[in-house]
Symmetry: C2
Subunit: 336 residues, 2 copies
Amino acid sequence: MATLIKDGTISLNTCPSVSAFAAAVGKMEGEGPLASSFDYIAEDVTLGESSWEKSESKLQQIAFSTALSKGSFSEKNIDVLFAGDLLNQCVSSSYGARDTEIPFLGLFGACSTMAEGLGLASVFVDSGSAVNAAAVTSSHFCSAERQFRLPVNYGGQRTPTAQWTATAAGCAVVSPHNKAPYVRAFTVGKIKDMGITDANNMGAAMAAAAYDTVSRHLCNTGQSIDNFDLILTGDLGKVGRDILIELFKKDGVDISEKHNDCGIMLFDPKKQDVHAGGSGCGCSASVLCSYVLDEIQQGKLNKVLFAATGALMSPTIVQQGESIPGISHAVELSSC
Amino acid sequence: MATLIKDGTISLNTCPSVSAFAAAVGKMEGEGPLASSFDYIAEDVTLGESSWEKSESKLQQIAFSTALSKGSFSEKNIDVLFAGDLLNQCVSSSYGARDTEIPFLGLFGACSTMAEGLGLASVFVDSGSAVNAAAVTSSHFCSAERQFRLPVNYGGQRTPTAQWTATAAGCAVVSPHNKAPYVRAFTVGKIKDMGITDANNMGAAMAAAAYDTVSRHLCNTGQSIDNFDLILTGDLGKVGRDILIELFKKDGVDISEKHNDCGIMLFDPKKQDVHAGGSGCGCSASVLCSYVLDEIQQGKLNKVLFAATGALMSPTIVQQGESIPGISHAVELSSC
């Protein structure tokens, strides 16, 4: 039985387990610092498919089927699948799950989708609405660039604040309390708008949402950053991280040591030219569903607040002169 | 405490109440047979806004604020808002809720969104994850036509199977068990693909999903259509309704008397030239959150299965030659 603590924070009293997880990434992500943690690294960005949308769907399918196989689950064991992505009408998710018989709930949270899905899956398991619930999401550099900015083969110059949409997917299966990692609480995000109108500066658009959600989670659960080994946002990148640190400094809190960001962790800034860092639903999903959940499972990280962030950006609305709102959902994970 | 019965059907054991609901519609919808049931009828399709996306956002805001005011709620009473729509990146929902401080979970279920949101809101209230949870969705003829087919001012000829995207929004607030209407169960949809590639024949693309969800709900809950006063799909239109009736006939079940469809109910086919009927997230939302919930509240309808249907259609993927999958989520509502 879940309990609403207050103001969007839900305590998952049965502490469900993340019983299986997997990450599938593209070639470039597979050359980054987390390479050894990934379950699957594609040989090329097409994954043998005829369109970028289909390549992204396939990556999502691989993450999902790998998580199931790592947890010795069959599709019949999954009572509900929460899925979403960045593409118009979330097509990589719906086409990715089209050939399954799994009850499906589509989400849109932009790059915050992994936390939204993981939180909802945990509520479902905690409440008895599902025995096993899965959350999956993905992004693909080429499908996202074409849709949100310019086709990749246009060869446009990227700005210093731009982030690199990761070609990546992650999947987590939540099951009743059994073994670490455990899901302890879920804080639902609020929409925050800092007035950013630059579609190449997503970090700035999302930082206020991350600040609101992380500080609200700490306040509502009566904890401070000292209770956590890692405050993990995804994907603020370098620009957004700096803003987040500044926002916490105003409260007299220095989060710089405890904080890391999936967009910063995924790529090596010295060798990989990704400007402000990685982004995309698949960025935080793949970092969480590989290295981070591994570390929690092994007890190397005891308590992690996973606060994925999304820029709710639509090219149509940006062209109409509107600013870009952000959102961040947070899931508290622990090793015991 | 919710119970997973089986195969996607969740019993909401506390039977939460739909404590408030409202529907806001455009001028043409306000000239249809349900006119007297709507809370707000716009004088023109712009609603005084400078873009169709902003007009749709405003309609969603009106439905939401009217539902709150009818239920004597303030925004602070709403613990979580589930919202989604048809537009790319669900912008009418995220921009609609941008000025609130309400925890927000974005959904994508195309025209099935009202049932998805109402089901999730009910799980949250039933499980103690929220005291009051709201579900809202919208659609707008002009924003949808431009995005999915052709700009309205192009004046393209519509095919006989085409449906008319409703300019409409609906909102329902779910609260602990108190008064009718009650939410008794939620069946999560599965993605079904009948191989339809015609973006002007959504009814056919969705009928198989509605059949799967309705028959699965009946089977999983041990009920037959005799237990219901109304099996309400939305929005199959006339084409999809005929297919649904045929699919049930193969099982020896005649649902023609018990079945109705929000897309058929919203407009008057003799006076309003909408071809196969209405569609859009706002179509089923506005029909449910006006006439149907009113009738249940008054005890004129005792048991209703609300099975909203969505075509998970993306112009990008249709241009790549892919067929259009459908999904349908069902919520069982009762007067006692």
